[in-house]
């Protein structure tokens, strides 16, 4: 597919990447527009995380070009919080770029309020549940004030119900503090519920097999017909679901298109 000529916030231009003899990405192009929420799904080991690492600048591509904004914040799977710092200090860590102490304190207070963990400010990460820890991670990442957030399976280490809550939380946080997000996940429902655009990646070396646009405004329910239809389409694309009975929304031609 051709890339739109608009000012993309993150742009991969024919990016290839190899680890030794293993080619993980091959000539991949991708543009993420400001304010967009893009989810990447695909078989495990297909290079999703490598894509994020290239996006954050943690690694440089073997060939091709990555244009990224100056500040990028990453949200990790789990245990990205510093265990030796309290919730408060972990959130403040995300605010290091702010020059004045008063501003940092004020902003940390706002962020803690936002994730509803003000009462836990003096707790250490190991004293929190997995879901709470991920909320603190989100707050720390939002504190960076960067336009671009990269999320590497941020909710994969918590149970299903907590995951649903965290999705809602993320959607709410993004409504209050809009950001451009690239989310890597193996949870297809999560991708379809949260993203504006879901990119389905192939086996290694990763190519973009399919691109599913969701037109329903965020936040949306996991059971919204368009979300269900998108999940069906992605699963089918990945060869994990037959087309026995397409969901109702898909058959009435939903606002899902290429």
């Amino acid at each position: 597919m051709s890339l739109p000529p608009t000012e993309a916030l993150l742009r991969f231009d024919r990016v290839s990447h190899s680890f030794g003899a293993v080619e993980v990405l091959s000539e991949l192009s991708l543009a993420v527009q400001p304010g967009e929420f893009v989810a990447l799904v695909g078989p495990s080991g297909c290079g999703k995380t490598t894509l994020l690492n290239l996006g954050s600048g943690w690694i440089e591509p073997t060939s091709g070009r990555v244009d990224r904004p100056a500040g990028v914040r990453m949200v990790f799977q789990q245990d990205g919080l510093f265990p030796w710092l309290t919730v408060w200090d972990n959130v403040r860590l995300g605010l290091r770029h702010l020059a004045d102490e008063a501003g940092r304190i004020r902003q940390a207070g706002v962020l803690l309020e936002l994730i509803g963990l003000t009462a836990f400010r003096a707790h250490y990460p190991h004293q929190l549940s997995g879901g709470m820890r991920q909320r603190v991670e989100l707050a720390r990442a939002l504190g960076g004030g960067t336009d671009l957030l990269l999320m590497d399976e941020p909710f994969s280490s918590v149970d299903y119900l907590t995951r649903l809550k965290l999705r809602a939380e993320l959607a709410r946080l993004l409504r209050e503090q809009p950001r451009t997000v690239v989310l890597v996940t193996h949870d297809i429902e999560e991708a379809a519920q949260l993203a504006d655009r879901v990119l389905v990646l192939s086996e290694r070396p990763a190519r973009i097999r399919d691109e599913v646009h969701l037109k329903v405004p965020r936040p949306r329910d996991a059971t919204h017909p368009d979300v269900v239809a998108a999940v069906h389409r992605i699963l089918t694309e990945l060869g994990l679901e037959g087309d026995a009975e397409p969901p109702a929304a898909a058959s009435r031609g939903p606002e899902i298109d290429r």
Binding site: S56, W58, V72, R73, M74, F76, D79, G80, F82, P83, W84, L85, L93, G94, R96, H97, Y124, P125, H126, R140, G144
Partner: protein
């Protein structure tokens, strides 16, 4: 978690020592050995009182504690930085870890002859021996701790703009603190074992020398008195160092 505290107060903790003293008294009263070879608890208590009140044991304890403190601080002060270096550099590890492992496996007591030949008698040989006992385990533990810091901490640090010396202060050191504290506790105990041996051979004072002196004078009551003091101070040292593990910012390393 924290140390075991029963609601029954300290009485249960005293039951063990009380039983031991009772058994000891019973054995002594059997008269299997002459009293000069198997002192009674009462004789030891008397000896302990006398040696404490004439300050001999007190001075010996101070001398031993000084040596342990000096040797241990030297080992920790040099061992932790050396471990940081080895932990960060795979090349340094490759070159130096075999050596570190060799010296760690070598009993520090094997150095006693050289310690005396090079440093004579007194503080210096004891401090040297303690250093040789404590330095290598500290290096190894620190190396292992640094090498096992999850890389995600460094990625977060990069995201939020921690770099240079701040990286060491704000990421590496707090990340290894729990493991290093555990290593320091173990090596402090080791140092306390070594100082006694060092002073028995290369000392003119200290608790190890007190043991040796009592043996030479066949004062087994004073010998046991010195043993009691050594054991009690050893326990107290560990109690002191275990407090480090209660620091809130290192609790994560022990609670899970």
């Amino acid at each position: 978690m924290s140390s075991v505290r029963s609601s029954r107060g300290p009485w249960l903790a005293l039951a063990g020592p009380a039983a031991l003293v009772a058994l000891w008294a019973a054995l002594a009263s059997l008269g299997l050995f002459p009293e000069s070879l198997f002192p009674t608890p009462l004789a030891v208590a008397r000896g302990l009182g006398a040696e404490l009140s004439n300050f001999r044991l007190v001075n010996d304890a101070i001398a031993s504690l000084f040596r342990v403190t000096a040797g241990f601080l030297l080992a920790a002060g040099l061992g932790v930085p050396a471990g940081l270096l080895l932990g960060h550099s795979a090349r340094a590890r490759e070159a130096l870890l075999p050596l570190v492992n060799f010296f760690r496996s070598l009993s520090p007591l094997a150095w006693i002859p050289f310690a005396i030949l090079w440093l004579g008698i007194g503080d210096a040989p004891a401090i040297f021996l303690i250093f040789m006992a404590a330095f290598f385990p500290v290096v190894l533990s620190t190396t292992a701790a640094v090498a096992s810091i999850p890389s995600v901490y460094f990625r977060v640090a990069r995201d939020v703009g921690i770099e240079g010396a701040a990286l060491l202060r704000e990421v590496t050191l707090p990340a290894i603190a729990p493991q290093v504290i555990t290593a320091l506790r173990v090596t402090a105990g080791l140092s306390w074992l070594v100082v006694v041996a060092a002073e028995m051979i290369a000392g003119r004072d200290g608790l190890g020398f007190a043991i040796w002196d009592a043996r030479n004078g066949l004062r087994t009551d004073l010998l046991v008195a010195a043993m009691v003091v050594i054991g009690l101070i050893g326990v107290a040292l560990d109690r002191l160092l275990v407090r480090l593990t209660r620091i809130p910012s290192v609790r994560w390393g022990y609670d899970r």
